[in-house]
Amino acid sequence: MSLDLSVQHRFDGFALDAGFTAPEGVTVLFGRSGSGKTTIVNVVAGLLRPDRARVSVCGEVLCDSASGRWVPAARRRIGYVFQDARLFPHLSVRQNLTYGQRFSPAPLGTAQSARIVEMLGLGALLTRRPGALSGGEKQRVAIGRALLSGPRLLLMDEPLASLDEARKAEILPYLERLRDEAQMPLLYVSHSTAEVTRLATTLVLLHEGRVARAGPVADVLSDPELAPMLGVRRAGAFLTGRVARHHEDGLTELTSPAGAIFLPRVAAAPGATLRVRIAAQDVLLAAAHPSEISALNVLSVEVLAVRQGDGPGVMVQLDAGGERLLARITRRSAEALGIAPGRRCYAIVKTLSVAPFAIGENATADP
């Protein structure tokens, strides 16, 4: 299952010329306001007929200006959660939710539907109309409506922006499951680091209508060159490990080439491969192996490169047993510790800062 896309379109004062492949998993479209994210999503959904485009989903061509092919939106089976909720104002929440069900060739079972409704916390709202919902409630109904239509590809345009953290924390695992179990590709527009790092398998960076960078999220996020574009706080790296065991005190231990890594318990069977993300912001460097410290993860590393930014910080690229790691520290500390390519030191990572990151695995974080 994958989505191939190339699209050219001009609006007055804005030119879009983008192409990328979204493989299985979650592809996050990332870019500044007005960079063309919604426009691309609309083309995929079949709501905007661009000047020139070719869009195909797992080999089926949905739109091809060369041959004139154009599959209408209704026959694409693509779920779309709009940036504005776009609920049907005259229908109850229940009717909104079930609107797409009758057209689905593979309708969701009652149990599955009920689970979605419960996860989204919509049970008490079913008889209301959209006019009587709060902003976040509307958005949750919109998500439910798209999910219940049983799509084969899901488009989500900043679906969680208006939700509180607690609600996000409830919905994110579900999206992860969707990604992992249903193997439904997701094209996801988001501004949120947390969502990107939790969900994304592929990251497409848009800049003024063009793809600035696209690729596996680990590559894009750990590229120190992209740090300014992504925002320094978003930079980070990925380590791959194997689940060694689950400890009683709520921790999971991984074995990785970089060393043992502890993180909050993850629902993955021992032996499973797991990816974890470590934000550059969360890494401390020490000249000597620190003792009696609350951080459980201390990795022996070698400095590969140091990149100076504008502010007081530097971005340090590290090698940890063959894996790459990023650390963002002050210039002063870098000088004090003599951080320069070739220098060996220790990277300290708080257990609780390690975020599990699962691709194609039945692995989610315990809440």
């Binding site: 209704a74 779309y80 709009f82 049907f88």
Partner: protein, 232 residues
């Protein structure tokens, strides 16, 4: 009450109601269709269709009635075709009165519905399409219900017009008691005779009462519809 109006007048009231109801009900489907086409499609001849729909409003009613007679009369092309195909004749029948009323009310109905359809946010229709709904279903479940205020308005305008239509009706189907003598025809007849104003006034009151009742019902319906859409 039966003493207040004679049996002939009651007959006229009953007939007017029947004519107005059928005129309204039967012109709704084509009215909605034409309104939708004018609101959402681009096609050659759109301006002509729009003009044609408005003709009955522009022409003096007598002319419209006269044209109908030319078309649907015993010698008229459509009249002959109907007669040959189905053995139906509508000139001088109450069905003809309903047709005349429907045609006279058609521009009012189409305009109101068109206005409401144009006000329906096409992005909602697009949303419905992404959920897999075919165009016709989207129309029936999104566009139509959201345009309901305009459809109600169109229907009530057509009904009111049908209750009051005189010129086209009397020209096309004449004034046959019990068959085509609607309330306006009866009122007209009374007005031709010196001193019969009282009788005319009684019929005027009856038609006001009927139409006000229809208005009231439509207002209450409209209120409920818009409360529904606004939420709660």
């Amino acid at each position: 009450m039966t003493g207040w109006l004679g049996p002939e007048e009651w007959q006229a009231v009953a007939l007017s109601l029947r004519v107005a109801l059928w005129a309204t009900v039967l012109s709704l489907p084509p009215g909605i269709f034409v309104a939708y086409a004018l609101a959402r499609w681009r096609f050659p001849g759109k301006l002509w269709l729009n003009g044609l729909v408005h003709l009955p409003l522009i022409l003096p009613p007598v002319v419209t009635g006269y044209l109908l007679l030319m078309l649907f009369g015993a010698q008229g092309p459509l009249g002959r075709a109907l007669e040959a195909a189905f053995g139906i004749s509508i000139a001088f029948r109450w069905t003809g009165a309903a047709l005349a009323a429907a045609i006279m009310g058609f521009p009012l109905m189409v305009r109101a519905i068109r206005l409401s359809i144009e006000a329906v946010d096409p992005r909602l229709e697009a949303a419905a399409e992404t959920l897999g709904a075919p165009r016709l279903w989207v129309f029936a479940t999104i566009t139509l219900p959201l345009a309901l205020p305009g459809i109600l308005t169109g229907a009530i305008l057509a009904f009111a017009k049908a209750m009051g239509e005189f010129g086209a009706t009397i020209t096309f189907v004449s004034n046959i008691p019990g068959q085509t003598r609607t309330v306006p025809s009866a009122i007209y007849a009374f007005l031709q005779v010196p001193g019969a104003e009282g009788a005319a006034l009684r019929l005027v009151i009856v038609s006001i009462v009927v139409a006000m009742g229809a208005l009231l019902v439509s207002e209450l319906l409209a209120r409920r519809v818009s409360a529904r859409v606004r939420g709660s």
